[in-house]
């Protein structure tokens, strides 16, 4: 979220100076010389003062800790004794640690399976909600609601109950499919799907963005295609998808980054029991393991190294996505 806030906050003083009305900004400065310049300076100062809570927060709560954690990543630090410089040992330990590799596997599986499913669900619902029908406002609100509460602790607890042995999902699966897995939560091979289902259910945010994108597609294109005899599938594939590809790109980017950072729902769904996450660590996603190492095993140096490794990985994936957009993202300006 930070990159979005930055320009807004930085724009504050300049926006103020350029604003209309007497006694403000450049026009007044030309008119009455040094007095106005002083005032402008004061206004700049006021601007910075207004920004100061954000700047202080950024420096103290984000930038400072980040720099500190970069240093800790190269140390052995248990919170009590002074950090001891050990060079790259945390990183070599990480690659040698089977539990770390397991957490990477779990996370990648979750990202690769969960993100496309969530986006597909979001797009499908957005397409439905884009049709002219009575009560669409209500449906939009209703479909968005799960993403407001989905990330909360209580929903993860409810989810745990729904997917347990002999609970509703287990019973339905038995009677409809004749399959008895004895509850998804207890099964190391199934629990990750209940986590993915929980994520899918929170499709509201990308859905709203898709909906905004769909509204931008010119009607004439569809009308022209219909005249030429294109069916609904063809219209979706050749008009809708290319036209909303910038929005799709944005959603893919955002959801991928989010998925890499999943923590709360995996931690709670897996059940908290002394340094584990799910049966046989089945929901031990990357950040869960980071938390276990940092706060339960007091290995802050190792946990910091893990955090920076995650940042590198997410940065790399983002770079690849940006590089790939040349091939599939269609911008109107470029077409002209």
């Amino acid at each position: 979220m930070t990159p979005v806030q930055t320009p807004t906050a930085a724009a504050l003083p300049t926006g103020d100076a350029a604003g209309p009305g007497p006694g403000r900004g450049g026009a007044a400065e030309e008119r009455s010389g040094p007095g106005a310049r002083r005032r402008a300076r004061r206004e700049n100062l006021a601007g910075y003062l207004f920004m100061s809570p954000w700047i202080a927060g950024f420096a103290l709560l984000t930038a400072g800790p980040m720099i500190a954690s970069l240093y800790f990543a190269f140390t052995d630090y248990n919170l009590f004794d002074a950090p001891r410089w050990i060079g790259l040992k945390n990183f070599t330990d990480m690659f040698a640690d089977p539990r770390w590799r397991h957490s990477v596997d779990v996370t990648l599986w979750y990202v690769v399976v969960g993100t496309p499913l969530k986006l597909a669900a979001a797009l499908a619902v957005a397409l439905l909600l884009n049709q002219k029908r009575r009560g669409q406002g209500f449906y939009r609100a209703a479909f968005y609601a799960p993403s407001l509460i989905g990330a909360s602790v209580s929903i993860a607890v409810v989810w745990r109950a729904i997917f347990s042995d002999d609970a509703i999902v287990d019973r339905a699966q038995r009677s409809l499919l004749g399959m008895d897995v004895g509850g998804w939560i207890g099964d190391p091979d199934w629990i990750v799907y209940s986590l993915i289902a929980l994520t899918m259910w929170q499709f509201g945010a990308p859905m709203v963005i898709f909906l905004a994108g769909l509204k931008q597609v010119p009607r004439e294109l569809y009308e022209a295609a219909e005249v030429d005899g294109a069916g609904p599938w063809r219209r979706f594939w050749n008009i809708t998808l290319p036209m909303i590809s910038p929005v799709l790109f944005f959603n893919v980017l955002l959801e991928t980054i989010h998925s890499f950072q999943i923590f709360g729902s995996a931690y709670i769904l897996g059940g908290q029991a002394g340094g584990t996450c799910g049966p046989a660590d089945a929901t031990l996603v990357y950040t869960c393991y980071l938390y276990v190492q940092g706060f339960e095993n007091s290995r802050m140096g190792f946990a910091s190294a893990m955090a920076w490794m995650l940042l590198l990985a997410v940065g790399l994936v983002t770079a690849v996505l940006f590089w790939s957009q040349k091939r599939w993202v269609h911008y109107e300006e470029a077409a002209r």
């Binding site: 006694g23 004061r42 009590f80 004794d81 207890g186 059940g271 002394g274 584990t276 339960e296 007091s298």
Partner: protein, 432 residues
């Protein structure tokens, strides 16, 4: 904002705003300063911070004992804080590393050397000499339970012992009566009989319980921990877990998938098994959690005599950084010796550690009576031994033992892999 043409109004407004901003920043600073002064003295009154882990029920009882303490010591105020077990230690660790641990807190043997090594615990020996804390009148050698290298780092509040908690109805229906000194062979035959006649697993799955494996090792002259590291070999553990896996496959132990789903309920109280190795005072919890009647049975033996059992205990420890060691010592003294405290606490933290408190509370309900009788029988039969000291990092090794045993039971790793993983993680945790 309304502009009135002159431009002055606006700047006055802004100046006013700046003042406001400055004012609130100052106010924030003051509040922060106010929060910082957690424990301190004020006009002869001293405030100490006391933290523990446990349930709401325990919190209610403890708050009553604190009221009683404050009434008798009007110059000492007690500020409290409690969380569930795992959260407690995370919070404590963070506070202690930041140099701001509670003045006095609940502690357990697995954490004694860990926080001693980190220089967090106060040696209460000085306060004993000064007469602020009495260490006499403790039961069954508990007075030295919290000592490390001759320094008193924890004062026991109540004893408990590892035991076999059984579902009495199921055992009765299967016609099994465990007798003192029964062997592991007899125990396993009983589990098989329960599986065959009662349609449920005999045991919840004892292979991941560190304290039980400790007893098993003790029966063979070893122990789970030495003061420096692990007290057993990879071959020992391979044997233990190979037999465990056979039990899981044969259905004498509960299906680990189901056990993990009923959490936070225990497998025994959820009706997935007929017995479970755990601390004797857990019988209280299982009775409130489950539908059956629960009781205590003797721990099986290897030679027909030795169970390897010892009394464990929660403790009260003080932090080295406390500014009020004397008041903290008086507080601990009150909590472990005052008879009224015993009547409020009951057996919530085990059977009271001092004879004065033990005499003051005589349970009337069947479950507490069973616990008292069980521990009395341990004392009378002379099976009790001394606990081996737990090295720093024992808590992490214990958690790893439980987790890796579960992975093995779920079939996610072979016994050989599990053993290798446990030894590698323990080496990191114990620094050996």
């Amino acid at each position: 904002m309304r502009t009135n043409g002159t431009g002055t109004q606006g700047s006055v407004d802004r100046r006013g705003l700046l003042k406001l901003v400055g004012g609130s920043t100052a106010a924030l600073g003051l509040t922060a300063a106010g929060c910082g002064g957690g424990s301190g003295s004020d006009g002869g009154t001293v405030t100490i911070r006391y933290a523990w882990w446990g349930s709401d029920d325990r919190a209610k009882r403890i708050n009553q004992t604190i009221e009683l303490f404050e009434k008798k010591h009007p110059k000492i105020k007690v500020k409290t804080d409690f969380q569930p077990y795992l959260d407690f230690w995370k919070k404590f660790n963070t506070q202690a590393s930041g140099g701001n641990p509670p003045d006095v807190f609940q502690n357990a043997v697995g954490f004694l050397r860990k926080y001693d090594a980190k220089n967090v615990l106060l040696d209460l020996g000085g306060q004993v000499e000064a007469g602020n804390l009495r260490m006499d009148g403790f039961r069954a050698g508990l007075d030295t339970f919290g000592e490390v290298d001759g320094r008193l780092l924890g004062v026991p509040v109540g004893s408990n012992s590892m035991a076999l908690v059984i579902d009495e109805k199921v055992f009765g229906k299967a016609g099994i009566t465990p007798r003192p000194g029964w062997t592991w062979e007899e125990f396993h035959a009983a589990l098989a009989k329960i599986r065959d006649t009662q349609g449920r697993a005999g045991d919840s799955g004892m292979y991941g319980v560190m304290y039980l494996y400790d007893l098993h090792l003790r029966q063979h002259g070893k122990a789970f921990f030495t003061p420096k590291g692990l007290g057993f070999t990879e071959a020992d553990l391979t044997d233990w877990w190979t037999k465990a896996l056979q039990g899981v496959r044969a259905g004498t132990y509960s299906d680990p998938k189901k056990v993990s789903q009923v959490k936070p309920k225990a497998a025994l109280s959820a009706g997935l098994s007929a017995c479970e190795f755990t601390w004797d005072n857990f019988t209280i919890r299982y009775t409130s959690e489950g539908k059956s009647e629960y009781g205590l049975a003797p721990v099986p033996t290897t030679d027909g005599k030795r169970t390897g059992q010892y009394l464990g205990s929660l403790m009260l420890s003080a932090s080295k950084r406390t500014k009020h060691p004397e008041e903290v010592a008086r507080f601990i003294d009150f909590m472990v010796h005052d008879p009224e405290v015993a009547t409020i606490m009951g057996y919530d933290r085990g059977v009271p550690a001092t004879t004065a408190q033990y005499e003051a509370f005589k349970p009337t309900d069947p479950v507490n009576k069973k616990i008292a009788a069980y521990e009395q029988q341990l004392v009378d039969s002379g099976v009790l031994e001394q606990i081996t000291p737990h090295p720093a990092g024992a808590d992490i090794a214990e958690a790893a033992f439980l987790r890796i045993a579960e992975e093995m039971a779920l079939g996610k790793s072979s016994v050989a892999e599990a053993v290798r993983q446990f030894f590698s993680e323990s080496k990191t945790a114990l620094g050996s």
